[in-house]
Protein backbone atom coordinates (compact mmCIF):
# COMPACT_ATOMS: atom_id res chain seq x y z
CA UNK A 1 0.00 0.00 0.00
CA UNK A 2 1.13 3.54 -0.77
CA UNK A 3 3.18 5.11 2.05
CA UNK A 4 0.73 7.95 2.77
CA UNK A 5 -2.11 5.41 2.94
CA UNK A 6 -0.12 3.37 5.48
CA UNK A 7 0.09 6.41 7.72
CA UNK A 8 -3.61 7.18 7.24
CA UNK A 9 -4.50 3.55 8.03
CA UNK A 10 -2.53 3.76 11.28
CA UNK A 11 -4.73 6.68 12.39
CA UNK A 12 -8.06 4.83 11.99
CA UNK A 13 -9.65 3.33 15.10
CA UNK A 14 -10.72 -0.30 14.70
CA UNK A 15 -14.40 -0.85 14.00
CA UNK A 16 -15.03 2.71 12.84
CA UNK A 17 -17.03 3.93 9.84
CA UNK A 18 -14.95 5.33 7.00
CA UNK A 19 -15.69 7.12 3.73
CA UNK A 20 -12.80 7.16 1.24
CA UNK A 21 -13.25 9.73 -1.52
CA UNK A 22 -11.41 8.88 -4.71
CA UNK A 23 -10.69 5.42 -3.31
CA UNK A 24 -9.01 4.09 -6.45
CA UNK A 25 -8.86 0.33 -6.50
CA UNK A 26 -9.83 0.11 -2.83
CA UNK A 27 -6.40 -0.72 -1.37
CA UNK A 28 -6.90 1.33 1.79
CA UNK A 29 -10.49 0.25 2.41
CA UNK A 30 -9.65 -3.39 1.71
CA UNK A 31 -6.84 -3.18 4.25
CA UNK A 32 -8.96 -1.41 6.86
CA UNK A 33 -11.80 -3.88 6.44
CA UNK A 34 -9.52 -6.86 6.88
CA UNK A 35 -7.17 -5.56 9.57
CA UNK A 36 -9.39 -3.19 11.53
CA UNK A 37 -12.93 -4.46 10.90
CA UNK A 38 -13.77 -1.03 9.53
CA UNK A 39 -17.11 -0.49 7.82
CA UNK A 40 -16.00 1.47 4.80
CA UNK A 41 -17.41 2.96 1.62
CA UNK A 42 -15.46 4.29 -1.31
CA UNK A 43 -16.36 6.74 -4.02
CA UNK A 44 -14.57 6.45 -7.33
CA UNK A 45 -15.31 7.82 -10.78
CA UNK A 46 -13.63 5.15 -12.90
CA UNK A 47 -15.70 2.10 -13.84
CA UNK A 48 -12.57 -0.08 -14.04
CA UNK A 49 -11.40 0.94 -10.56
CA UNK A 50 -14.90 0.47 -9.13
CA UNK A 51 -14.82 -3.09 -10.47
CA UNK A 52 -11.45 -3.65 -8.76
CA UNK A 53 -12.93 -2.44 -5.47
CA UNK A 54 -15.84 -4.86 -5.73
CA UNK A 55 -13.42 -7.65 -6.60
CA UNK A 56 -11.66 -6.89 -3.32
CA UNK A 57 -14.95 -7.04 -1.43
CA UNK A 58 -14.96 -3.28 -0.88
CA UNK A 59 -18.24 -1.36 -0.84
CA UNK A 60 -18.02 1.38 -3.48
CA UNK A 61 -20.13 3.89 -5.41
CA UNK A 62 -19.23 5.06 -8.87
CA UNK A 63 -19.57 8.81 -9.04
CA UNK A 64 -18.13 12.27 -8.60
CA UNK A 65 -16.86 12.93 -5.08
CA UNK A 66 -18.18 16.47 -4.84
CA UNK A 67 -21.70 15.29 -5.74
CA UNK A 68 -21.83 11.95 -3.95
CA UNK A 69 -20.87 13.44 -0.60
CA UNK A 70 -24.09 15.51 -0.50
CA UNK A 71 -26.40 12.55 -0.05
CA UNK A 72 -25.09 11.42 3.32
CA UNK A 73 -26.73 12.57 6.53
CA UNK A 74 -24.62 14.62 9.01
CA UNK A 75 -21.98 12.68 10.96
CA UNK A 76 -22.47 9.51 8.89
CA UNK A 77 -18.82 8.57 9.25
CA UNK A 78 -16.12 8.55 11.91
CA UNK A 79 -13.52 9.41 9.28
CA UNK A 80 -13.71 10.84 5.77
CA UNK A 81 -10.52 10.38 3.78
CA UNK A 82 -9.42 12.52 0.86
CA UNK A 83 -5.99 11.35 -0.22
CA UNK A 84 -3.99 13.08 -2.95
CA UNK A 85 -7.13 14.60 -4.44
CA UNK A 86 -7.61 18.03 -2.83
CA UNK A 87 -5.26 19.66 -5.35
CA UNK A 88 -7.58 18.53 -8.17
CA UNK A 89 -10.81 19.91 -6.74
CA UNK A 90 -12.49 22.97 -8.21
CA UNK A 91 -13.92 24.24 -4.93
CA UNK A 92 -11.76 22.83 -2.13
CA UNK A 93 -13.24 25.03 0.60
CA UNK A 94 -16.76 23.86 -0.18
CA UNK A 95 -15.66 20.24 -0.38
CA UNK A 96 -13.86 20.37 2.98
CA UNK A 97 -16.96 21.92 4.49
CA UNK A 98 -19.08 19.08 3.06
CA UNK A 99 -16.61 16.50 4.37
CA UNK A 100 -16.72 18.01 7.85
CA UNK A 101 -20.49 17.76 7.76
CA UNK A 102 -20.64 14.02 6.93
CA UNK A 103 -17.55 13.00 8.90
CA UNK A 104 -16.63 13.56 12.51
CA UNK A 105 -13.00 13.72 11.49
CA UNK A 106 -11.49 14.18 8.07
CA UNK A 107 -8.11 13.05 6.85
CA UNK A 108 -6.61 14.97 3.94
CA UNK A 109 -3.33 14.37 2.13
CA UNK A 110 -1.92 16.49 -0.70
CA UNK A 111 1.36 17.16 -2.50
CA UNK A 112 3.29 20.07 -1.02
CA UNK A 113 3.95 22.72 -3.68
CA UNK A 114 6.63 24.33 -1.54
CA UNK A 115 8.92 21.31 -1.60
CA UNK A 116 12.46 22.62 -2.09
CA UNK A 117 13.02 21.20 -5.55
CA UNK A 118 9.83 22.84 -6.80
CA UNK A 119 11.01 26.17 -5.37
CA UNK A 120 14.36 25.65 -7.11
CA UNK A 121 12.76 24.89 -10.44
CA UNK A 122 10.79 28.11 -10.36
CA UNK A 123 13.70 30.15 -9.05
CA UNK A 124 16.38 28.88 -11.42
CA UNK A 125 14.56 27.68 -14.52
CA UNK A 126 11.44 29.84 -14.62
CA UNK A 127 9.12 27.05 -15.76
CA UNK A 128 6.06 25.60 -14.04
CA UNK A 129 7.46 22.83 -11.86
CA UNK A 130 7.43 19.17 -12.84
CA UNK A 131 8.55 16.26 -10.71
CA UNK A 132 7.47 12.75 -9.77
CA UNK A 133 4.63 14.03 -7.61
CA UNK A 134 3.55 16.55 -10.22
CA UNK A 135 4.46 14.97 -13.56
CA UNK A 136 2.25 17.13 -15.78
CA UNK A 137 2.67 20.15 -18.00
CA UNK A 138 0.83 23.35 -17.09
CA UNK A 139 -1.68 22.74 -19.89
CA UNK A 140 -2.67 19.17 -19.03
CA UNK A 141 -2.29 18.96 -15.29
CA UNK A 142 -5.30 17.87 -13.24
CA UNK A 143 -3.64 19.59 -10.26
CA UNK A 144 -5.36 22.93 -10.45
CA UNK A 145 -4.81 23.97 -6.82
CA UNK A 146 -1.44 25.09 -5.51
CA UNK A 147 -1.38 23.96 -1.87
CA UNK A 148 1.47 24.09 0.60
CA UNK A 149 1.65 22.65 4.09
CA UNK A 150 1.62 26.15 5.58
CA UNK A 151 -1.35 27.15 3.40
CA UNK A 152 -3.33 24.19 4.62
CA UNK A 153 -2.58 24.89 8.27
CA UNK A 154 -3.73 28.47 7.82
CA UNK A 155 -6.84 27.33 5.94
CA UNK A 156 -7.81 25.01 8.79
CA UNK A 157 -7.29 27.77 11.34
CA UNK A 158 -9.30 30.31 9.37
CA UNK A 159 -12.22 27.98 8.82
CA UNK A 160 -12.60 27.49 12.55
CA UNK A 161 -11.44 23.90 12.55
CA UNK A 162 -8.56 22.26 14.29
CA UNK A 163 -5.73 20.02 13.24
CA UNK A 164 -5.78 16.89 15.39
CA UNK A 165 -2.82 15.26 13.71
CA UNK A 166 -0.27 16.26 11.14
CA UNK A 167 2.43 14.16 9.57
CA UNK A 168 4.54 15.44 6.74
CA UNK A 169 6.35 12.89 4.64
CA UNK A 170 8.92 12.57 1.94
CA UNK A 171 7.83 9.92 -0.53
CA UNK A 172 7.04 9.65 -4.22
CA UNK A 173 3.54 9.45 -5.59
CA UNK A 174 3.07 5.68 -5.65
CA UNK A 175 5.93 4.59 -3.42
CA UNK A 176 5.42 2.04 -0.69
CA UNK A 177 8.14 3.63 1.41
CA UNK A 178 9.02 7.08 2.64
CA UNK A 179 10.06 8.95 5.73
CA UNK A 180 8.47 11.33 8.16
CA UNK A 181 9.83 14.89 8.06
CA UNK A 182 9.77 16.79 11.34
CA UNK A 183 12.31 19.53 10.58
CA UNK A 184 11.25 22.23 8.10
CA UNK A 185 8.44 20.17 6.57
CA UNK A 186 7.18 22.91 4.25
CA UNK A 187 10.60 22.81 2.58
CA UNK A 188 11.49 19.15 2.90
CA UNK A 189 8.24 17.16 2.69
CA UNK A 190 6.62 16.10 -0.58
CA UNK A 191 3.24 15.44 1.05
CA UNK A 192 1.28 16.69 4.01
CA UNK A 193 -1.24 14.50 5.82
CA UNK A 194 -3.72 16.12 8.19
CA UNK A 195 -6.47 14.94 10.45
CA UNK A 196 -8.95 17.75 10.99
CA UNK A 197 -12.12 18.13 12.99
CA UNK A 198 -14.68 20.80 13.62
CA UNK A 199 -14.31 22.89 16.72
CA UNK A 200 -17.31 22.86 19.01
CA UNK A 201 -18.17 26.37 17.85
CA UNK A 202 -18.03 25.36 14.18
CA UNK A 203 -21.20 26.61 12.44
Amino acid sequence: MRYDLQIIASWIEPGSKVLDLGCGEGDLLGFLKKEKRVKGTGIESSEAKVTKCIEKGVQVLQGDITEEVHDYPDNSFDYVILSQTLQQVLEPDQLIKDLLRVGKKIIVSFPNFCYWSIRMQILFFGYAPKNRQLPYEWYNTPNIRIITIKDFRRFVRETGCEVIKEVDINTHSDDLQGKIINFLPNLRATYGIFMVSRRKSYP
Binding site: E47, V50, T51, I54, V60, G63, S76
Partner: protein
Protein backbone atom coordinates in the same frame (compact mmCIF):
# COMPACT_ATOMS: atom_id res chain seq x y z
CA UNK B 1 -36.87 -6.91 -20.95
CA UNK B 2 -36.42 -8.86 -24.13
CA UNK B 3 -35.63 -12.48 -23.97
CA UNK B 4 -32.40 -12.66 -25.82
CA UNK B 5 -31.58 -16.03 -27.20
CA UNK B 6 -29.65 -14.99 -30.25
CA UNK B 7 -26.26 -14.31 -28.79
CA UNK B 8 -23.46 -16.80 -29.02
CA UNK B 9 -23.30 -19.31 -26.24
CA UNK B 10 -20.00 -20.27 -24.72
CA UNK B 11 -20.76 -23.98 -24.67
CA UNK B 12 -20.65 -24.21 -20.88
CA UNK B 13 -24.01 -25.02 -19.39
CA UNK B 14 -25.65 -26.21 -16.23
CA UNK B 15 -26.99 -29.10 -18.32
CA UNK B 16 -30.48 -30.49 -18.21
CA UNK B 17 -33.13 -28.68 -16.20
CA UNK B 18 -36.74 -29.47 -15.56
CA UNK B 19 -39.71 -27.14 -15.33
CA UNK B 20 -41.71 -27.97 -12.20
CA UNK B 21 -45.08 -26.79 -10.98
CA UNK B 22 -46.27 -25.89 -7.50
CA UNK B 23 -49.95 -25.18 -6.91
CA UNK B 24 -51.32 -23.41 -3.86
CA UNK B 25 -54.03 -20.96 -2.75
CA UNK B 26 -56.72 -23.53 -3.46
CA UNK B 27 -60.20 -22.19 -2.68
CA UNK B 28 -61.27 -21.23 -0.09
CA UNK B 29 -57.71 -20.19 0.79
CA UNK B 30 -57.16 -17.90 -2.18
CA UNK B 31 -54.33 -15.36 -2.19
CA UNK B 32 -55.47 -11.80 -1.50
CA UNK B 33 -53.87 -9.48 -4.03
CA UNK B 34 -52.86 -5.84 -3.57
CA UNK B 35 -56.05 -4.80 -5.37
CA UNK B 36 -58.11 -6.67 -2.78
CA UNK B 37 -59.16 -9.31 -5.31
CA UNK B 38 -58.73 -12.96 -4.36
CA UNK B 39 -57.03 -15.42 -6.69
CA UNK B 40 -56.73 -19.17 -6.48
CA UNK B 41 -55.67 -21.75 -7.17
CA UNK B 42 -52.28 -20.40 -8.27
CA UNK B 43 -49.72 -22.52 -10.05
CA UNK B 44 -46.07 -21.44 -10.20
CA UNK B 45 -43.68 -22.77 -12.81
CA UNK B 46 -40.11 -22.90 -11.54
CA UNK B 47 -36.73 -24.42 -12.26
CA UNK B 48 -33.78 -25.05 -9.99
CA UNK B 49 -30.08 -25.48 -10.72
CA UNK B 50 -27.12 -26.42 -8.58
CA UNK B 51 -27.21 -28.16 -5.21
CA UNK B 52 -28.82 -26.93 -2.03
CA UNK B 53 -26.24 -27.11 0.77
CA UNK B 54 -26.90 -28.63 4.19
CA UNK B 55 -27.73 -25.42 6.01
CA UNK B 56 -29.65 -24.05 3.00
CA UNK B 57 -27.45 -20.96 2.96
CA UNK B 58 -26.57 -20.93 -0.75
CA UNK B 59 -29.91 -20.08 -2.34
CA UNK B 60 -30.16 -17.44 -5.05
CA UNK B 61 -33.48 -16.38 -6.53
CA UNK B 62 -33.46 -14.91 -10.03
CA UNK B 63 -36.39 -12.71 -11.05
CA UNK B 64 -37.09 -12.44 -14.76
CA UNK B 65 -38.30 -9.46 -16.76
CA UNK B 66 -41.40 -8.84 -18.91
CA UNK B 67 -41.18 -11.66 -21.39
CA UNK B 68 -38.88 -14.08 -19.58
CA UNK B 69 -39.74 -17.33 -17.90
CA UNK B 70 -38.46 -19.85 -15.37
CA UNK B 71 -36.03 -21.25 -17.93
CA UNK B 72 -33.06 -19.14 -16.92
CA UNK B 73 -30.28 -21.52 -17.98
CA UNK B 74 -29.56 -25.02 -19.24
CA UNK B 75 -31.55 -27.20 -21.62
CA UNK B 76 -34.78 -29.17 -21.35
CA UNK B 77 -33.45 -32.10 -23.36
CA UNK B 78 -30.40 -33.23 -25.27
CA UNK B 79 -32.16 -32.23 -28.48
CA UNK B 80 -33.15 -28.78 -27.16
CA UNK B 81 -31.50 -26.26 -29.53
CA UNK B 82 -31.68 -23.24 -27.21
CA UNK B 83 -30.51 -22.78 -23.65
CA UNK B 84 -32.35 -20.62 -21.10
CA UNK B 85 -32.46 -16.83 -21.40
CA UNK B 86 -29.49 -16.06 -19.11
CA UNK B 87 -27.30 -19.03 -19.89
CA UNK B 88 -24.28 -16.75 -20.28
CA UNK B 89 -24.62 -15.61 -16.66
CA UNK B 90 -25.89 -18.71 -14.88
CA UNK B 91 -23.91 -21.94 -14.96
CA UNK B 92 -20.82 -23.72 -13.67
CA UNK B 93 -18.02 -21.18 -13.05
CA UNK B 94 -20.12 -18.32 -14.43
CA UNK B 95 -21.14 -15.00 -12.86
CA UNK B 96 -23.82 -16.84 -10.91
CA UNK B 97 -21.95 -20.05 -10.28
CA UNK B 98 -24.17 -23.13 -10.12
CA UNK B 99 -21.25 -25.12 -8.69
CA UNK B 100 -21.59 -23.02 -5.56
CA UNK B 101 -25.14 -21.75 -5.43
CA UNK B 102 -28.58 -23.28 -5.58
CA UNK B 103 -30.40 -21.14 -8.14
CA UNK B 104 -34.18 -20.84 -8.36
CA UNK B 105 -36.09 -19.03 -11.07
CA UNK B 106 -39.87 -18.94 -11.27
CA UNK B 107 -42.27 -17.55 -13.84
CA UNK B 108 -44.09 -14.43 -12.62
CA UNK B 109 -47.77 -14.24 -11.72
CA UNK B 110 -49.76 -13.02 -14.73
CA UNK B 111 -47.38 -14.51 -17.27
CA UNK B 112 -48.10 -17.31 -19.71
CA UNK B 113 -45.09 -19.58 -19.29
CA UNK B 114 -46.56 -21.97 -16.75
CA UNK B 115 -47.55 -19.71 -13.88
CA UNK B 116 -51.18 -18.71 -13.50
CA UNK B 117 -52.12 -15.79 -15.70
CA UNK B 118 -54.92 -14.48 -17.92
CA UNK B 119 -54.59 -17.46 -20.27
CA UNK B 120 -55.12 -19.94 -17.42
CA UNK B 121 -58.50 -21.55 -16.81
CA UNK B 122 -60.80 -19.58 -14.54
CA UNK B 123 -62.23 -22.18 -12.14
CA UNK B 124 -65.46 -20.16 -11.93
CA UNK B 125 -66.22 -20.49 -15.64
CA UNK B 126 -64.06 -23.34 -16.88
CA UNK B 127 -62.74 -20.97 -19.58
CA UNK B 128 -59.57 -18.84 -19.77
CA UNK B 129 -59.69 -15.78 -17.52
CA UNK B 130 -58.96 -13.22 -20.21
CA UNK B 131 -59.61 -9.76 -18.78
CA UNK B 132 -61.46 -11.31 -15.81
CA UNK B 133 -58.02 -12.05 -14.45
CA UNK B 134 -57.44 -9.63 -11.56
CA UNK B 135 -54.81 -6.89 -11.91
CA UNK B 136 -51.57 -8.05 -10.33
CA UNK B 137 -48.72 -5.98 -8.91
CA UNK B 138 -44.99 -6.52 -8.55
CA UNK B 139 -45.77 -7.09 -4.85
CA UNK B 140 -48.23 -9.87 -5.77
CA UNK B 141 -45.57 -11.51 -7.97
CA UNK B 142 -43.16 -11.49 -5.04
CA UNK B 143 -45.79 -12.90 -2.66
CA UNK B 144 -46.15 -15.85 -5.01
CA UNK B 145 -42.37 -16.35 -5.09
CA UNK B 146 -42.35 -16.28 -1.29
CA UNK B 147 -45.06 -18.94 -1.19
CA UNK B 148 -42.95 -21.12 -3.50
CA UNK B 149 -39.89 -20.75 -1.26
CA UNK B 150 -41.94 -21.60 1.82
CA UNK B 151 -43.12 -24.71 -0.01
CA UNK B 152 -39.51 -25.62 -0.83
CA UNK B 153 -38.56 -25.16 2.84
CA UNK B 154 -36.22 -22.27 2.12
CA UNK B 155 -36.30 -19.60 4.81
CA UNK B 156 -33.36 -17.47 3.77
CA UNK B 157 -32.04 -16.24 0.43
CA UNK B 158 -28.39 -15.41 -0.03
CA UNK B 159 -29.38 -13.11 -2.88
CA UNK B 160 -32.21 -12.05 -5.12
CA UNK B 161 -31.07 -10.92 -8.55
CA UNK B 162 -32.98 -9.34 -11.39
CA UNK B 163 -32.85 -6.84 -14.24
CA UNK B 164 -35.52 -4.46 -15.50
CA UNK B 165 -38.93 -5.63 -14.18
CA UNK B 166 -36.96 -8.41 -12.48
CA UNK B 167 -35.10 -5.66 -10.62
CA UNK B 168 -38.42 -4.25 -9.41
CA UNK B 169 -39.16 -7.64 -7.87
CA UNK B 170 -35.75 -7.55 -6.17
CA UNK B 171 -36.59 -4.13 -4.68
CA UNK B 172 -39.92 -5.49 -3.50
CA UNK B 173 -38.15 -8.45 -1.86
CA UNK B 174 -35.66 -6.19 -0.10
CA UNK B 175 -38.42 -4.00 1.30
CA UNK B 176 -41.15 -6.57 2.05
CA UNK B 177 -38.96 -9.39 3.35
CA UNK B 178 -35.90 -7.66 4.84
CA UNK B 179 -35.11 -10.58 7.14
CA UNK B 180 -35.26 -13.13 4.33
CA UNK B 181 -32.66 -11.79 1.94
CA UNK B 182 -28.98 -11.17 2.57
CA UNK B 183 -28.18 -9.44 -0.69
CA UNK B 184 -30.01 -7.71 -3.53
CA UNK B 185 -28.57 -7.27 -7.01
CA UNK B 186 -30.38 -4.71 -9.15
CA UNK B 187 -29.59 -4.51 -12.86
CA UNK B 188 -30.84 -1.84 -15.28
CA UNK B 189 -33.87 -1.14 -13.15
CA UNK B 190 -35.85 1.62 -11.49
CA UNK B 191 -37.91 2.35 -8.40
CA UNK B 192 -40.69 3.61 -10.65
CA UNK B 193 -41.37 4.04 -14.34
CA UNK B 194 -40.79 7.43 -15.89
CA UNK B 195 -43.49 8.95 -18.09
CA UNK B 196 -41.38 7.80 -21.04
CA UNK B 197 -41.45 4.15 -19.94
CA UNK B 198 -45.20 4.27 -19.23
CA UNK B 199 -45.76 5.91 -22.63
CA UNK B 200 -44.08 3.10 -24.54
CA UNK B 201 -45.96 0.47 -22.53
CA UNK B 202 -49.23 2.25 -23.28
CA UNK B 203 -48.46 2.27 -27.01
CA UNK B 204 -47.90 -1.48 -26.79
CA UNK B 205 -51.12 -2.05 -24.89
CA UNK B 206 -53.13 0.11 -27.28
CA UNK B 207 -51.69 -1.82 -30.22
CA UNK B 208 -53.00 -5.05 -28.65
CA UNK B 209 -56.35 -3.72 -27.55
CA UNK B 210 -57.10 -2.14 -30.92
CA UNK B 211 -56.36 -5.36 -32.80
CA UNK B 212 -59.65 -6.54 -34.41
CA UNK B 213 -59.06 -10.00 -32.92
CA UNK B 214 -58.66 -8.74 -29.37
CA UNK B 215 -62.35 -9.20 -28.52
CA UNK B 216 -61.98 -7.66 -25.05
CA UNK B 217 -59.31 -10.18 -24.19
CA UNK B 218 -61.56 -13.16 -24.92
CA UNK B 219 -59.73 -14.50 -27.96
CA UNK B 220 -58.51 -17.91 -26.79
CA UNK B 221 -61.01 -19.91 -28.86
CA UNK B 222 -60.47 -17.93 -32.04
CA UNK B 223 -57.83 -15.94 -33.92
CA UNK B 224 -55.46 -14.08 -31.61
CA UNK B 225 -54.51 -10.40 -31.66
CA UNK B 226 -51.17 -11.27 -33.21
CA UNK B 227 -50.77 -8.06 -35.19
CA UNK B 228 -51.26 -5.95 -32.09
CA UNK B 229 -48.92 -8.05 -29.98
CA UNK B 230 -46.27 -8.06 -32.71
CA UNK B 231 -46.53 -4.29 -32.96
CA UNK B 232 -46.24 -3.99 -29.16
CA UNK B 233 -43.12 -6.10 -29.30
CA UNK B 234 -41.63 -3.99 -32.10
CA UNK B 235 -42.10 -0.82 -30.09
CA UNK B 236 -40.75 -2.49 -26.97
CA UNK B 237 -37.75 -3.84 -28.79
CA UNK B 238 -36.72 -0.38 -29.98
CA UNK B 239 -36.73 0.82 -26.36
CA UNK B 240 -34.37 -2.02 -25.39
CA UNK B 241 -31.79 -0.97 -27.99
CA UNK B 242 -29.89 2.27 -28.44
CA UNK B 243 -29.19 4.68 -31.27
CA UNK B 244 -25.59 3.52 -31.29
CA UNK B 245 -26.30 -0.19 -31.51
CA UNK B 246 -28.98 0.35 -34.16
CA UNK B 247 -26.58 2.40 -36.23
CA UNK B 248 -23.91 -0.27 -36.09
CA UNK B 249 -26.29 -3.22 -36.43
CA UNK B 250 -28.51 -1.86 -39.23
CA UNK B 251 -27.62 1.66 -40.26
CA UNK B 252 -29.64 2.41 -43.38
CA UNK B 253 -28.74 -0.89 -44.98
CA UNK B 254 -31.39 -2.42 -47.23
CA UNK B 255 -32.85 -5.88 -46.81
CA UNK B 256 -32.28 -8.30 -49.73
CA UNK B 257 -32.19 -5.49 -52.30
CA UNK B 258 -29.88 -2.90 -53.79
CA UNK B 259 -32.34 -0.07 -54.30
CA UNK B 260 -35.37 1.33 -52.55
CA UNK B 261 -38.49 -0.53 -53.66
CA UNK B 262 -40.89 2.41 -53.48
CA UNK B 263 -43.40 0.33 -51.58
CA UNK B 264 -44.34 -0.41 -47.97
CA UNK B 265 -42.58 -3.72 -47.68
CA UNK B 266 -39.61 -3.95 -45.34
CA UNK B 267 -37.00 -2.11 -47.41
CA UNK B 268 -34.58 -1.45 -44.58
CA UNK B 269 -32.90 -4.11 -42.53
CA UNK B 270 -34.18 -2.55 -39.32
CA UNK B 271 -37.76 -2.90 -40.56
CA UNK B 272 -37.24 -6.51 -41.44
CA UNK B 273 -35.58 -7.18 -38.09
CA UNK B 274 -38.43 -5.67 -36.11
CA UNK B 275 -41.04 -7.57 -38.10
CA UNK B 276 -39.13 -10.76 -37.43
CA UNK B 277 -38.94 -9.99 -33.69
CA UNK B 278 -42.67 -9.24 -33.65
CA UNK B 279 -43.75 -12.41 -35.44
CA UNK B 280 -41.40 -14.58 -33.36
CA UNK B 281 -42.81 -13.12 -30.17
CA UNK B 282 -46.47 -13.89 -30.92
CA UNK B 283 -45.64 -17.58 -31.17
CA UNK B 284 -44.55 -17.74 -27.56
CA UNK B 285 -46.29 -14.97 -25.68
CA UNK B 286 -49.86 -14.16 -24.73
CA UNK B 287 -51.18 -10.67 -25.49
CA UNK B 288 -53.17 -10.46 -22.24
CA UNK B 289 -50.06 -11.33 -20.23
CA UNK B 290 -48.29 -8.45 -21.97
CA UNK B 291 -51.10 -6.13 -20.83
CA UNK B 292 -51.04 -7.35 -17.23
CA UNK B 293 -47.28 -7.41 -16.69
CA UNK B 294 -46.63 -4.02 -18.30
CA UNK B 295 -49.41 -2.55 -16.15
CA UNK B 296 -47.89 -4.08 -13.02
CA UNK B 297 -44.56 -2.47 -13.96
CA UNK B 298 -46.21 0.91 -14.60
CA UNK B 299 -48.01 0.77 -11.24
CA UNK B 300 -44.80 -0.05 -9.36
CA UNK B 301 -43.63 2.87 -7.25
CA UNK B 302 -41.40 2.13 -4.28
CA UNK B 303 -41.88 5.47 -2.54
CA UNK B 304 -45.63 5.61 -3.01
CA UNK B 305 -46.24 1.98 -2.10
CA UNK B 306 -43.82 1.58 0.78
CA UNK B 307 -42.79 4.99 2.09
CA UNK B 308 -45.60 7.60 2.09
CA UNK B 309 -44.23 8.97 -1.19
CA UNK B 310 -40.66 8.91 0.09
CA UNK B 311 -38.13 6.46 -1.27
CA UNK B 312 -35.87 7.25 1.67
CA UNK B 313 -38.61 6.11 4.03
CA UNK B 314 -39.34 3.06 1.87
CA UNK B 315 -35.74 1.87 2.04
CA UNK B 316 -35.59 2.35 5.82
CA UNK B 317 -36.85 -1.23 6.20
CA UNK B 318 -34.12 -2.73 4.02
CA UNK B 319 -31.34 -4.79 5.57
CA UNK B 320 -29.84 -6.42 2.48
CA UNK B 321 -26.43 -5.57 1.07
CA UNK B 322 -27.08 -4.08 -2.32
CA UNK B 323 -25.34 -3.96 -5.69
CA UNK B 324 -26.82 -1.60 -8.29
CA UNK B 325 -25.65 -1.74 -11.91
CA UNK B 326 -26.76 0.57 -14.73
CA UNK B 327 -25.67 0.83 -18.35
CA UNK B 328 -24.56 4.00 -20.11
CA UNK B 329 -26.77 3.60 -23.19
CA UNK B 330 -29.94 2.46 -21.37
CA UNK B 331 -32.46 5.19 -22.14
CA UNK B 332 -35.47 3.23 -20.89
CA UNK B 333 -34.16 3.06 -17.30
CA UNK B 334 -31.35 5.63 -17.49
CA UNK B 335 -28.49 5.81 -15.01
CA UNK B 336 -29.99 8.81 -13.21
CA UNK B 337 -32.78 6.52 -11.98
CA UNK B 338 -30.26 4.10 -10.52
CA UNK B 339 -28.43 7.02 -8.90
CA UNK B 340 -31.66 8.32 -7.34
CA UNK B 341 -32.27 4.87 -5.90
CA UNK B 342 -28.71 4.68 -4.58
CA UNK B 343 -29.08 8.13 -2.99
CA UNK B 344 -32.18 7.06 -1.10
CA UNK B 345 -30.28 3.97 0.07
CA UNK B 346 -27.28 6.08 1.15
CA UNK B 347 -29.54 8.28 3.25
CA UNK B 348 -30.48 5.13 5.15
CA UNK B 349 -26.87 4.13 5.68
CA UNK B 350 -27.39 0.95 3.66
CA UNK B 351 -24.50 -1.17 2.44
CA UNK B 352 -24.78 -0.28 -1.24
CA UNK B 353 -22.37 -0.45 -4.16
CA UNK B 354 -23.04 1.09 -7.55
CA UNK B 355 -21.39 0.74 -10.93
CA UNK B 356 -22.36 2.22 -14.29
CA UNK B 357 -21.12 -0.09 -17.02
CA UNK B 358 -20.09 1.40 -20.35
CA UNK B 359 -22.21 -0.48 -22.87
CA UNK B 360 -23.62 0.42 -26.26
CA UNK B 361 -26.49 -2.07 -26.40
CA UNK B 362 -29.07 -0.06 -24.46
CA UNK B 363 -31.41 -1.56 -21.89
CA UNK B 364 -30.79 -5.07 -23.26
CA UNK B 365 -27.16 -4.88 -22.08
CA UNK B 366 -27.90 -6.68 -18.82
CA UNK B 367 -29.04 -9.77 -20.75
CA UNK B 368 -26.06 -9.88 -23.09
CA UNK B 369 -22.73 -11.51 -22.31
CA UNK B 370 -20.73 -8.89 -20.42
CA UNK B 371 -17.50 -9.76 -18.70
CA UNK B 372 -17.68 -6.80 -16.36
CA UNK B 373 -21.23 -7.48 -15.23
CA UNK B 374 -20.39 -11.16 -14.62
CA UNK B 375 -17.31 -10.22 -12.59
CA UNK B 376 -19.18 -7.67 -10.50
CA UNK B 377 -21.99 -10.08 -9.69
CA UNK B 378 -19.65 -13.00 -9.06
CA UNK B 379 -17.35 -11.12 -6.71
CA UNK B 380 -20.16 -9.35 -4.92
CA UNK B 381 -21.75 -12.74 -4.22
CA UNK B 382 -18.33 -13.98 -3.03
CA UNK B 383 -18.12 -11.15 -0.56
CA UNK B 384 -21.67 -11.53 0.70
CA UNK B 385 -21.39 -15.28 1.21
CA UNK B 386 -18.02 -14.90 2.97
CA UNK B 387 -19.36 -12.22 5.29
CA UNK B 388 -22.41 -14.37 5.95
CA UNK B 389 -20.24 -17.31 6.95
CA UNK B 390 -18.11 -15.02 9.10
CA UNK B 391 -21.17 -13.57 10.85
CA UNK B 392 -22.52 -17.05 11.51
CA UNK B 393 -19.38 -18.03 13.46
Amino acid sequence: MSKNTEHECDGISVGLVEKKLYTFAEPPNELTLASGARLGPISVAYETMGTLNDDKSNVILIAHALSGDSHVAGYYSAADPKPGWWNTMVGPGKGIDTDRYFVICSNVLGSCMGTTGPSSTNPATGRPYGLDFPMVTIGDMVKVQKALLDHLGIGKLLAVIGGSIGGMQVLEWAISYPETITAAILLATTTRHSALAIAFNEIGRQAIMSDPNFNKGDYYSGPKPDLGLALARMVGHVTYLSDEVMRSKFGRRLQDRDNLAFDFEANFQVESYLRHQGSKFVQRFDANSFLYITKAADYFDVGQQHGNDSEVEAFAKVKAKILVISFTSDWLYPTYQSRDMVNAMKKNGLDVSFCEIEAKCGHDAFLLPNERQSTLINRFLDRVSEEEKHDAL
